[in-house]
């Protein structure tokens, strides 16, 4: 079980600001993406597989980065501040 925070359009598409995702406990960010794409969390698969950014412990990381139990994981669209 991994808690995933969602922001922006992704939060709105899923309809929740965080999800408890049972399909993943630990592995790499790439493996988390793959697990999410094959899961049923609304119409967001393409988005999660493609352009969505992943932050682990509040740092944006690439697909090789590990996700360990207890890490703070967040997925969101490319940022548009400023």
């Amino acid at each position: 079980m991994t808690k995933i925070l969602l922001f922006g359009k992704l939060r709105e598409d899923v309809g929740q600001s965080s999800i408890e995702f049972a399909g993943f406990s630990q592995g790499t960010v790439g493996e988390l993406r793959s697990a999410l794409v094959t899961s049923d969390i609304g119409d967001t698969e393409t988005f999660i597989a493609g352009q969505a950014l992943v932050a682990v412990n509040q740092t944006i990381v690439d697909d090789t980065h590990p996700v360990l139990p207890g890490d703070e994981v967040a997925i969101f669209p490319p940022v548009t501040g400023g």
Partner: protein, 147 residues
Amino acid sequence: MISVQQEDFDVGLEYQKLRLNSQNEGAIVFFSGLVRDMNADGKVQSMLIEHYPGMTEKVLTNIANEAKGRWDLQQLQIIHRVGRLQAADQIVFVATTSKHREDAFKACQFIMDFLKTQAPFWKKEISDEVGQWVEAKSSDQQKLADW
């Protein structure tokens, strides 16, 4: 100093604080960003800015520290607003002070370029009560290569 806030800010007041705190600085550079009232699809009445509390402050602190490492800066300030804003409202303020203008100019632009592509804010433009999430621009991403 870094602040993520709902409240508006007063550029004149922020400038005076930097000036009065200055010690042998010869340059203050600042940028302020506003809500535009038009986008490609027409008129924008208001904007919602969402952020990731905690990570936002962490990223802005990292960007500020990177700027301080690259240039000779005395003071540095970043203010970014969140929540609901109206057309022409102020969104962001970045100020740098230095002995010389070149460092202050470059650092201010560097901070804005990285803020736009790294700091976790998301804008939603609202027109006639219909919201549209702003999409990230590849041109913003390309600017990072200049640094």
